[in-house]
Amino acid sequence: MMLFKLSIANIVKSFKDYTIYFFTLILGVAIFYVFNAIESQTVLLNVTSSTSEIIGLMTDILSGVSVFVSFILGFLIIYASRFLIKRRNKEFGVYLTLGMSKRKISIILFIETLIIGLLSLIVGLGLGVLLSQLMSLLVANMFDADMTKFSFIFSNDAFVKTLIYFGIMYSIVMLFNTFIISKCRLIELLNSDKKSEKVHLKNPIVSSIVFVISCIVLGRAYYMVTAGIQELETVDKIFLPIIMGSVSTFFIFWSLSGLILKLCMSIKNLYYRGLNSFILRQFSSKINTMVFSMTVICLMLFVTICILSSSLSIKNSLSANLKELAPVDIQFSKRVDYTLENTANREEDELALLNLDVVDTLKNMGIDTTEFIDESVEINIFSTPDLTIADTFGPKLNEILANYRYLNPHSQEKIISISEYNELAKLYELEQFAIESGEYIIIADFDPFVKIRNEVLAEHQNIEVFGHILKPKYEKCQKGFVEISSNHINDGILIVPDHVLADIKPIQNILAGNYKMTKKEDKIELERQLEKKLKENDGNFTLIKGNSKLIIAEASIGLGAMATFIGLYLGIIFLLSSAAILALKELSESADNKKRFKMLRKIGVDEHLINRALFRQIAIFFATPLILAVIHSYFGMKFSIFILETFGTRELMRSIIMTVVFLLVIYGSYFLITYFSSKTIIKERI
């Protein structure tokens, strides 16, 4: 009982030291709960079956991410509790000299961890339940569901899961604490606050050389993921710039403190003004003792910025794309396959089916398009083994293949007649074109391909289409597409004069149109029936596939939501961890700082000068890894823009602003808490 009282007294007494720890634990628990509770929130939403499939996939991924997150939080908690033990070395030393056994000290720590753990779980879960009500608004918004009625949601699964995960983490911390206590020696505990810091100033020449080399390596890594991106053909090659970047980050921090110090010392007016020499020395000694932590924090911040802004921009671009790339409600596509294996052993009347258009084919299946489609356009797509990508590219082929190895030169080009395309473009509200009889146009919107094709078009490459020689009308690809989709994926379609395609059999018929009905529920019901009918005819000789705006919307919404939630989850946890490590490191040194500031006060330094010194010291400390992380992110984002090319990146600015807001709120509040806690600590008089 005595030990229990002692533990309680300790927690109350050192509450100030625990603030950051407690704050971090509560946020960790709350976030863990919120993201695991998403599943139960989606249950109440009225969504279609395909959306709920996506939600199922999303919750699976989120729970996988949760395991990863629990590892990060676990390490963070152990790191934090190590700091707290260090801070109380002297207290434990006194206990030991009084004859208390190490086992009993472990029990004290055990009880403390238990109390703190229970408290943080209770408060954190409470906060999590509240936050998840806000989250349900976001969820409803994401899945385009109506939130007409508010209902309080409590997720039992998430609750139990949080308890189990954090229970395990706390148990590990308890074991770890016991281990630490059993290892420590009395003399070290008692003298721990007397050790004065040894300052090892690195050789400035060595520092400068290391710094310059690191910058060059980093620059090379930046180049590899941006301008030199074409050389990264396979996935495993991306590891080289990542390793180069990480290692050079480490050495930049390693050499930074000495370099900055030397630089500032040479500017005597700056260095010997007020407390500047003191602030700079404090900063450099701190950086020197935590080069590795700084590197990890910097990289975590970098990943956070990239994840957050990419995932948010995926969501934003997807909804923007939807308007542009799915301009009609429904599209049916019929492949006309004349190859031998398909037509062999078929009856005459069966073969005749191939020549039917989409409307008639659907009618044979019992679907009358006139019943539900308002305005529509039907077009034919052609292709021939005599016109492949290799043929279009002509003499430039080898040069292009050398640069773009993932191109397949044998794939056949798609061809469409100008009058049919213009009809479709009118329906899609796209630009219409006019060409002379000897000309062709290429429409494309998938940027990497647009770039390649533009190289060829710039050479005025002539092509032969079904016996006609055509020359390009424009030196560039024109914007446009035929099939509706969620992303810019049209890698190129040739538009040719009508007469070129006369009497040629198409390989694909496409029917695009808008529904007569306007209500969403009616559309959903219609598509449910269409799907059923199409499925009944699944084994048919002439296969028809349907794609609709609703299906695309659901897929993009699901993808967007998945990206957003995973991005938010990881981003917030990373941000939390890095800010917490910085805060703990700063506060763990508060005992040393207290002595130093007390001394400054004794020699007559004004209070506002002391506060300003403290503020600057902490601000520089927090800013350093962030600045490098922001520079990393600039290039990292360029890389992810390349990767996310198909999604489009028009909404990037908005997502970057959102990321900055997140950063300011979480990182900023840790900074402020650290500053104010440090201020109270250095104000205390002994």
């Binding site: 004065s196 810091e197 040894k198 020499s277 003191f278 130093r596 001394m599 020699i603 330094v605 004004d606």
Partner: protein, 255 residues
């Protein structure tokens, strides 16, 4: 002679009504310019409290303290810091140097917080370092120096601002006898050639014997006062020992 420091009937009480401790119980004395005064007393005699109230780290319960004619018991906030920064120099038992700064920077800090330019700082640091014989440790960190060197660096920091009064709290407390002797000889040098006024608290008769005047404190009151006059240091030391014997108690342990 003008009075640098004038103390009038100061009292300092700790605790509450039920258990009142009179740390200082009506002390008055004056220190003149260029004097080197030692205050001796056993643990708990009130000597450290006396130093704390003079240095404005602590406040008196009643009475007045004048430094250069200014009543410092009425000072508050930043004017207190300004006074401490410009009129006082401190030397502590445990040196109180900033472990992250070199000796040079530690000394320079006292000037840079007064917004003095780097060229002037350099000139004065080098001159003071010469007086205290620490020129060759200026680029070292505190942990690379001996205790004596550290205390001389701390002394340099205390006197570089040309303070009205230098306050030293057990300056030899953490030093071996050889370093103590060297430091005290430097104090004498500063006192004689630079006319620095020094007020030093100690419980060690040997240390006190370097002063020009010794005040003995017991139970918060002045018990006795000795002036060196024309005596040699050895003779002065012997007369201090006589008073210490009379005082009795644990001061004997220091011999």
């Amino acid at each position: 002679m003008e009075h640098i420091l004038k103390i009038e009937q100061i009292e300092k009480y700790y605790g509450n009504k039920s258990s009142l401790t009179k740390a200082i119980d009506g002390i008055s004395f004056e220190v003149e310019k260029g004097e080197f005064v030692a205050i001796m007393g056993a643990s708990g005699s009130g000597k450290t409290t006396l130093l704390n109230v003079i240095s404005t780290i602590d406040r008196v319960t009643s009475g007045h303290i004048y430094i250069d004619g200014k009543d410092i018991t009425t000072l508050k906030g930043n004017s207190l810091n300004k006074f401490r920064r410009e009129s006082l120099g401190f030397i502590f038992q445990d040196f109180n140097l900033l472990d992250t700064l070199t000796a040079y920077e530690n000394i320079a800090l006292a000037l840079s917080i007064q917004n003095i330019g780097p060229a002037e700082i350099k000139r004065r640091v080098l001159a003071t370092a010469h007086e205290l014989d620490i020129e060759d440790v200026l680029d070292k960190y505190p942990y690379e120096m001996s205790g004596g060197q550290r205390q001389r660096v701390a002394s340099a920091r205390a006197i570089i601002t040309d303070p009205t009064l230098v306050l030293a709290d057990e300056p030899t407390g953490a030093l071996d006898s050889k370093s103590s002797k060297m430091l005290l000889e430097r104090f004498n040098h500063l006192n004689e050639t630079l006319e620095a006024t020094i007020l030093m608290v100690t419980h060690d008769a040997f240390t006190a014997s370097y002063a020009t005047r010794v005040l003995f404190i017991k139970d918060g009151r002045i018990f006795d006062e000795l002036r060196k006059g024309d005596k040699t240091r050895k003779e002065f030391f012997d007369s201090i020992i006589d008073v210490v014997t009379l005082l009795g108690g644990d001061l004997n342990d220091a011999l």
